[in-house]
Each structure stands twice: as C-alpha cells, then as structure tokens.
C-alpha cells in the first residue's frame, strides 16, 4: 500500500493532497496542470516537493519533516515515462536487464509483452508501440514494489494506444505489482483502473473505486458533463449477428462486436448523455437496450441540464436530461422508470475486456 501526503507551492497554484493507493491500478486523473505529474515525480524521488510524506508498505521513502528523502535508485519504484527513454547504446535485452535483479524472470516478462522476438534489436529500430512495451518490461524487471506510469500512452496515436492497452491489462492481471497510473484520458481510467483519484487545481476532488466515482453525480463537474457516465460490469451470454449479449445486474444488454468468449467478464461504459429516461416501457424504439430502474436522486445543474441517478440492479446509471424534461415528467426519487441506452452509446472502444 502506498501512502502519499504532499504539499507544494507553485507560482500559480498550490498542490495539497493525501492519497492512499492499494492493490491494482490507482488512477490519478485530472486536467493538465492539476498536479498529477508532480505527484508522480515526487513519489518516484525525481522532484522534491516542499513537503512530502511517502510510505510504501512499511518503508518510508520520504518524510521531509524528518529530513528523509530517498534517492530514486533507493526507492524500488519502477517508473514508466511518457517517452520510452530506452538506452540507445544497449540492445532490447540489455535495456530489459538493466535494472533486473537475480530473481527477475526475463523470459516470462518478455513473453507477457510479446517482445521476445525483439530481444537482439536496438531501440532505434523499434516502432513506438514496441518501444513502449520494452519500457514497460524494463520497469517491471527491476522488480519494483510499485510501478508508476506517468501518462504512458499520451505520446501514442489512437491505434498504437489500442495496441498497448491489452498489455497494460495483462500486467494489471498477472504482474502482481500495484500501479499508480497518471492520465488525463477517461477511457484509460474506465478500462484499467481499480481506484480513481480525481484531481483538480492541486486538490483531491473525489476518490474511490472507479465504478463508484464514475457514476457519482458529484464527480461530474470534475469529469465534465460530456465525460460523465457509469461503468457497469457484465458477463458475455452469447453472440448473435455480430452483436454480443451481456448480462449486467439490471438485465441484459446488447453491444456491437463479438469481443470475449461466453462467460468472459466485461466492463461497459454508459455515458450519461446517451441514456434516455422513460416512465413507461417504450415500444417501437430502435434502441435495443432498455433496463428497468429506479430513480435514486436528481441533480439540477446551473445550465439547462440535469442529472438523474438511476439504480439498475446493483449498478448505478447516470442520465443527463434537460431540466425541462425533468419538470414535465415530474420525476422524483423512488419512481420506477426505464433507462434506455442508445445502442451507439455502448461502442466497441468503450467495451472493455477482462475484469479479473
């Protein structure tokens, strides 16, 4: 477990955070300038903040009040930067083994990341995606107690990003290293994260499990109304006509594509702006996914919009509707309604494989 307490005064804003990161991937999410990278660098020992207390397991890595500040090489924290930063004078294998201890398993990590065929190559001959994977492997092979990924996909284009994401999932599921993942991309949060810490203006605006924070209406101002939405977990039931049927706690939903074998657990993201609320079960509607739900609460925004929090089985859904519709429908907490998920809202890029 990682405990972080930091304060740092910048010219134009102050960073003041307390964060606890457990197993799995803890996502630090926020707009640029929120202080994400400063936190990562301070934990890694690369940037000395005004005040810092960093504890990893039972080791205190930094405690400025007692003048403790371990150098980066003494922290046993693997660091994956935005750029791969591979050593140009060493082969891929030389890079991978640079920080490796005796019990590091080169073969296993290289196989996990599909870089075994690249071992003899020089970094200059690698594609962006290959280099990113080698950088991941190199950090893992240094057998760190924790891995920091500082926007590891931000420098890659959409296609390369899609190539790397499955490998990050594999690491999450098989590498047994807790990770602190810095990002400003919500799709990475929804796909990879276990815990989510929302940062805004140098403060923790919200934190909790990814599922809870994403469907928390109070988090919407930080996420932005367009990015607000719930994350559901489902299990593949069957494939028909190029569609996949998934069982979620509140019923069955169809999503395009045939990702995942029957029984596979999946993550689904349902954006608030793609959910329509109906008081009666609709007929003659092109949308395939209609889930019975109950109104939990209503939030009126400053503008014309309003958020409706729906309980569907064990899951929460967010629906973004206009205040006008809200008043006309006379919705109130406790009302039985139907959440209509526009099929397009459950697109393939927002359907994520592999929860365990």
């Amino acid at each position: 477990m990682l405990r972080i307490e930091l304060t740092h005064q910048f010219a134009d804003f102050a960073l003041d955070v307390e964060i606890t990161a457990g197993d799995g991937i803890t996502m630090l999410f926020g707009p640029s300038g929120a202080g994400k990278s400063t936190i990562a660098k301070s934990v890694g020992g690369l940037l000395r903040t005004d005040q810092a207390y960093v504890q990893l397991g039972d080791r205190v890595l930094a405690d400025t009040s007692r003048r403790v500040w371990l150098k980066p090489y003494a922290r046993r924290i693997g660091y994956v930067f935005q750029e791969p930063r591979l050593f140009p004078h060493l082969s891929v294998q030389g890079n991978l083994l640079y920080g490796a201890g005796r019990d590091a398993d080169l073969r296993r990590i290289a196989d996990l990341l599909d870089i075994t065929p690249l071992l003899a190559r020089r970094p200059a001959g690698l594609s962006g995606g290959e280099a990113a994977r080698v950088a991941l492997g190199r950090a893992l092979l240094s057998t760190p107690s924790m891995l920091i990924l500082d926007e590891p996909l931000a420098a890659l284009d959409a296609r390369r990003k899609a190539d790397i994401l499955p490998y990050l999932e594999r690491l999450r599921d098989h590498a047994n290293v807790p990770m602190l993942y810095i990002t400003h991309a919500l799709d990475e949060v929804a796909r990879l994260g276990s815990t989510l810490v929302l940062l805004r203006d140098g403060k923790v605006a919200r934190s909790g499990s990814v599922k809870d924070v994403l469907s928390d209406p109070d988090a919407v101002p930080v996420l932005g109304p367009r990015m607000a939405g719930a994350m559901l977990e489902g299990q593949v039931v069957r494939h028909v006509d190029g569609l996949t049927q998934l069982a979620v706690s509140g019923g069955l939903v169809w999503v395009p594509g045939t990702a995942g074998a029957v029984g596979t657990k999946m993550r689904l993201r349902v954006m608030a702006q793609d959910v329509i609320v109906g008081t009666h079960k609709p007929h003659g509607l092109s949308a395939l996914n209609i889930l019975p739900a109950k109104v939990v609460s209503l939030y009126r925004g400053d503008g014309p919009g309003a958020l409706v929090v729906l309980q569907s089985g064990a899951d929460r859904l967010l629906a973004r509707i206009t205040q006008r519709s809200l008043d006309e429908m006379g919705l109130a907490p406790g009302d039985a309604v139907y959440g209509i998920l526009k099929t397009v809202s459950v697109g393939p890029t927002d359907v994520f494989a592999g929860m365990d």
């Binding site: 890694g44 020992g45 690369l46 150098k71 980066p72 090489y73 922290r75 046993r76 924290i77 693997g78 660091y79 930067f81 750029e83 930063r85 050593f87 140009p88 004078h89 640079y98 920080g99 020089r122 970094p123 200059a124 190199r138 950090a139 240094s142």
Partner: protein, 232 residues
C-alpha cells in the same frame, strides 16, 4: 619519400611522443573537469571555467612564461616536484608534455562538454529509477553515450599538442633532441640558409598529421550524433 636530416626525424618522433603522452595524461582530467562544468552547480564554477579556457585566449608566450614561473627549477612547484619525484620540467621534454597538455586542455574539455550536453537527461533519470546509483549511471549510461565525444576530444587535443609552439618554446626552449618539436624545428631550419628542403618535409608531415587528426575528429563527432540519436 620525404627526405629529412636526423634532427628532423628526431623532432617528429618527439612531437608524436609529447602529443601522445600529453593527450593520454590530460584526458582523464579533462573528462572530470568537463563533467564538473557541464553538470556541477557549485561555487567557483565560473572561475574554473575561466581558468580552463585561459590558454585559449592568452598569448601562448604568456602561458609559457607563467609555466616557467610556476614550474621552473627555482619555483616552488618546480622545487617540490624535483625533490619529491625527481621530476624536472623546465627545458626538458617532460615540460613540453605539460605545455602541450595545458594548451590543448580547453579544446579537449569543450569536445567532451558538448557530448555531455547532448546526452538526454531523461535517460540518466530512467537509469536511476531502475536502481542505478550515480556512479553506475555514469559508467553504464553517460560514459558509453559520450565515448565518441571523448575520442574526438582526444584527437583534437592531440592535433593541438602536435602544433603547439609558443608556450613550448618559452617554457622548454628549442633544444635539438630534447625539446625540439616539429614546429620548433621548422622555426630553426627557417633560420638556416638552405634549410628550405627540410622545412618543406616537416611542413608536409605537420599538415598530414593535423589533417588526419581533424578528419578523424570530424568522423568521430558525426558518430556522437548518430549514437546519441540511436542511429548507430
């Protein structure tokens, strides 16, 4: 074939020995000073920088004279070296080595400094996060990346040492067989009637060695760029 009197060959042999030895001895010091100047943030960095570059801007005769004042047989350092190590510098070929080293030092330092600044600091940072302490980072990341720069610095320093004249002749004079290097020999033969043929031979050799060294330096610095960019 170049036809030279024995003094000419002696001068060439001495020049090669002086330049080779001065390069070899000053290279580790130059590396250390370049690292201090490129990476160090300490009091007196400006003074060190000025001191290193002084031989580049002073008239060589002045440098030679200052060496004589510091390392002459009656000067404090000169007395100390003679009493402790039996090492005499003034008017000996060993002094020519010192003069050549001092004069070529700024060029060598600058070449290594440039190579150091071309090293991507992110690579050293990455090495540190992989558990490497400062010494290991320097030995396994910095040093390999600047190796071509060090070689280029050595070559340019060697060429400078081969051509050194002013400080050498002031500090160790122009004694055939002892301190007469190629430039000093050219100077001497120019004073002798009928010495032109020897002068031409020595000039040809000097030009050849200097040109060869420069071409080598050029090739090596190209390799620095290629290597750091990861193309080699």
């Amino acid at each position: 074939m170049i036809n030279l009197p024995p003094e000419g060959w002696d001068a060439l042999w001495l020049s090669l020995r002086v330049a080779g030895l001065s390069t070899l001895l000053s290279l580790p010091v130059a590396l250390g000073v370049a690292v201090l100047l490129a990476r160090g943030r300490f009091l007196g960095r400006g003074i060190l920088n000025g001191l290193v570059h002084l031989p580049l801007v002073l008239p060589p005769v002045v440098t030679g004279y200052l060496l004589l004042i510091a390392f002459g047989r009656t000067a404090p350092i000169g007395v100390f070296l003679e009493d402790t190590f039996g090492l005499v510098l003034a008017f000996r070929w060993t002094g020519a080595v010192l003069a050549a080293a001092v004069m070529s030092f700024p060029l060598t330092v600058r070449a290594i400094w440039l190579a150091l600044e071309a090293v991507e600091p992110g690579l050293e940072e990455a090495a540190a996060t992989l558990g490497a302490g400062p010494v290991r980072v320097f030995a396994t990341v910095t040093l390999p990346l600047i190796a071509p720069g060090i070689l280029a610095g050595a070559v340019i320093g060697f060429a400078k040492a081969m051509g050194e004249f002013g400080a050498t002749i002031t500090f160790v004079s122009n004694i055939p067989g002892e301190t007469q290097t190629v430039p000093s020999a050219i100077y001497s033969f120019l004073q002798i009637p009928g010495g032109e043929a020897t002068v031409w031979g020595l000039v040809a050799l000097a030009v050849g060695v200097a040109l060869g060294a420069l071409l080598l330096a050029e090739m090596l610095s190209r390799r620095v760029a290629a290597r750091i960019a990861g193309r080699a």
